[in-house]
Symmetry: C2
Subunit: 426 residues, 2 copies
């Protein structure tokens, strides 16, 4: 019996290091040619699998696959799409079974977060009932660091390093200007439901330094009066104050600040961006010049400043997924466990997807001081190992070089096409 | 006669490499101890000189001065403040003459942009009439790249490299998501009056590649209808489109887009940020998901991704200023000239401040295609050498290490204090 093929796909918001996991999958599969056939990749996540829009990575030279280690974004395309559950999703699973059968897929690796873990679980458990047994494994990836059962998530260490570095640099700028110009700088980072990234901004201050930096996370209700007083006291004492804010911070009633409007100007919520709201609030309350920044995609794509630790972990997640598959594991995700301490000592273990999917790990309250604005020592011990080490990409003519793949389309075998449902997550 | 002392000060918006110029001044002065006494620095630019708020850099070890090469912000503090012209500014110049006399200042180096060049010129030409002759030299520094008479400005190459890199990375992210999610990404960069930084974003596309990236600069009036059509055609053809926009883009009538409101929602102009306006416009017109980013201080502080060429040029600007002073030049700025070609071959020459100050070099129209949205080949030839080379700072525990100076205050000699005028530029 010839070796079964692999189907790999990327899902959800991409990261600076998701392609390192792709590299881990492909290189490990190539090292096991006796037991694994081709590595195919779906274009645009599970949507490409449904559409039979696949590429054959066998045509990529080893150097191109290696270049994935320093290439941000999702090289095969990602998607925001959940498979509908049974019974209404039956046609989807029948279609996937047909595609898998047509291309002799024995292993499915889905590289994503909590939601994608459910997709991997559905495929692991439903396709065997449709006559198409498959080993299905979720590979963890999320800048949000919210995967339950894993000490941390590949993708997070790099964004944490980037935002802490950027804020440390911007604070040096702000401190220079504060005497006669800008006194407050507000930096907005990602995090709709969790404050992991905003909290990591606290690493911008060296350990033991009580500098003028306030953190705002979704886990701590935003109190306008207290916050303004806290900024005022920093400006009075230090001459300036920096604020790192997660996009999803909420009022005590649970409404997001961007929905609530902040300063009551209608329409602001459409624009998105909590930093300009906070800035307008402080400008009005304190009468000082305020600058603000919204990093958005720039932060999660910043492969030029990836954490070496994170790159290694992302690769290891992909490699472990293939190794688990060869050991017969299915319906699992390789998750990370570690001891405290530096350098980061971590190990990977398979965890059942039903214990992971569609759950969310929030920032522990113990990571912030009682006022909610500053990091505690346990938080620093948690973040420190994850941001360690640099993994500079190669540069050419002053700019980073990214992988260029051939992305050779796989010949379609199925007669009928598949209409991608219009409904996608926004 | 003992050697005269130096007074160095930093002015205007700071950059990732202004401290490299400070390093150039201090190291060059230390190599000329026979002819130059102490190097003093004013806190917060000319305001510190007026306040007699000075530090003595002699107490800083050579390693700390060297660390300025990789430290963003302005280590001595900057200011946004113009000296009032004569006759009403007479008291200011008398005060400066008294401070310079008290500390035996024979050389004044003012590190800033077009406005700061006027301050240096005033000091060079007025203080001699007040019995305090001084050699006064402006050292160029501005991310805006708008200094007249200089082929480029220290500080610009680094911000250009950073924004082009960040956009290249974010485009990789966007391309991954576009199939089922975000189709447009708008990145706002600095540039109130000139489009140098926004144009440099065009380097995100490799040469010869006609990718879906549109540039919006203040020099080209914004045409809403044409712009929306341009984005629509890119999204239809490529599946996605990226936009780099300078904060100061204007309508044909000269009003800034942020003042005009963009989509007519009152109050938006207070928030600043043209990217959210553009994003809201595109979301409404095209009905697609749009992400946006405002980099603000993060871009000009990003020393972690400085251009090696820029760091060298910033150092050379500081070194040349001291050399010119020793040659007896005053009322000048070291400006840069170069031949085309790679690697960048440049030389420095003294230029008279009256030909530089308060003027502004705008982006040549020839740098953009007829539609105003894309870079031309001459533009690429201009930008390419400036962003070349990496100059990674040292990292410790995953974060960049910045210089820590003692900033030893100089004992005040003057009896009377100086009330800093409240009026500062915003």
């Amino acid at each position: 019996m010839p070796a079964k093929n692999v189907l790999y796909a990327q899902s959800g918001g991409v990261t600076a290091t998701i392609n390192a996991s792709a590299c881990g999958v492909i290189e490990t599969a190539r090292r096991n040619r006796a037991r694994i056939g081709h590595v195919y990749a779906a274009r645009n996540g599970i949507l490409g699998a449904l559409d039979e829009d696949l590429v054959d990575t066998s045509f990529e030279p080893a150097t191109a696959i290696r270049a994935l280690m320093h290439t941000p974004g999702g090289i095969f395309g990602s998607c925001r799409y959940d498979l509908p559950p049974l019974p209404q999703g039956l046609a989807h699973f029948q279609r996937l079974a047909a595609v898998f059968r047509a291309h002799d897929i024995g292993y499915f690796f889905y590289n994503g977060g909590n939601g994608s873990a459910e997709t991997a679980h559905q495929i692991a458990t439903i396709l065997p009932h449709l006559g198409q047994p498959v080993i299905s494994i979720a590979i963890p990836k999320t800048i949000d660091n919210d995967i339950v059962g894993s000490d941390f998530s590949p993708g997070f260490g790099s964004v944490a390093k980037y935002v802490a570095t950027s804020l440390r640099e911007a604070m040096a700028d702000l401190a220079s200007m504060a005497n006669s110009s800008t006194k407050v700088f507000v930096m907005e980072v990602m995090g709709r439901y969790t404050g992991w990234i905003a909290a990591a901004c606290g690493m911008a201050l060296p350990a033991g330094e009580d500098g003028p930096l306030l953190l705002l996370v979704p886990e701590v209700p935003f109190n306008r009066r207290q916050f303004i007083a806290a900024v005022r006291s920093r400006v009075e004492r230090h001459g300036w104050c920096a604020v790192a804010v997660a996009e999803g911070i909420c009022l005590r009633d649970g409404r997001r600040l961007t929905q609530a409007g902040g300063d009551g100007i209608p329409g602001h919520e459409q624009l998105g961006g909590v930093a300009p709201l906070i800035a307008a609030m402080l400008r009005k309350a304190l009468g000082v010049k305020v600058h603000w920044s919204v990093l958005d995609y720039v932060q999660r794509a910043a492969r030029h400043l990836a954490s070496k630790t994170d790159v290694e972990q992302a690769y290891a997640a992909g490699r472990s997924a293939v190794e688990y598959a060869l050991q017969g594991h299915s319906d699992v995700m390789p998750v990370f466990r570690r001891n405290g301490g530096l350098p980061c000592r971590w190990q990977i273990a398979p965890a059942s997807l039903t214990r992971i999917m569609n759950r969310e790990k929030r920032l522990p309250r113990s990571f912030l001081t009682a006022d909610g604005y500053r990091l505690t020592a346990p938080a620093r011990r948690y973040f420190a190992p994850l941001i360690r080490g640099e993994a500079w990409p190669p540069f050419s003519d002053g700019l980073p070089v990214h992988a260029r793949l051939r992305l050779q389309p796989l010949r379609r075998h199925l007669q009928s096409g598949w209409q991608t449902p219009a409904k996608t997550k926004i």
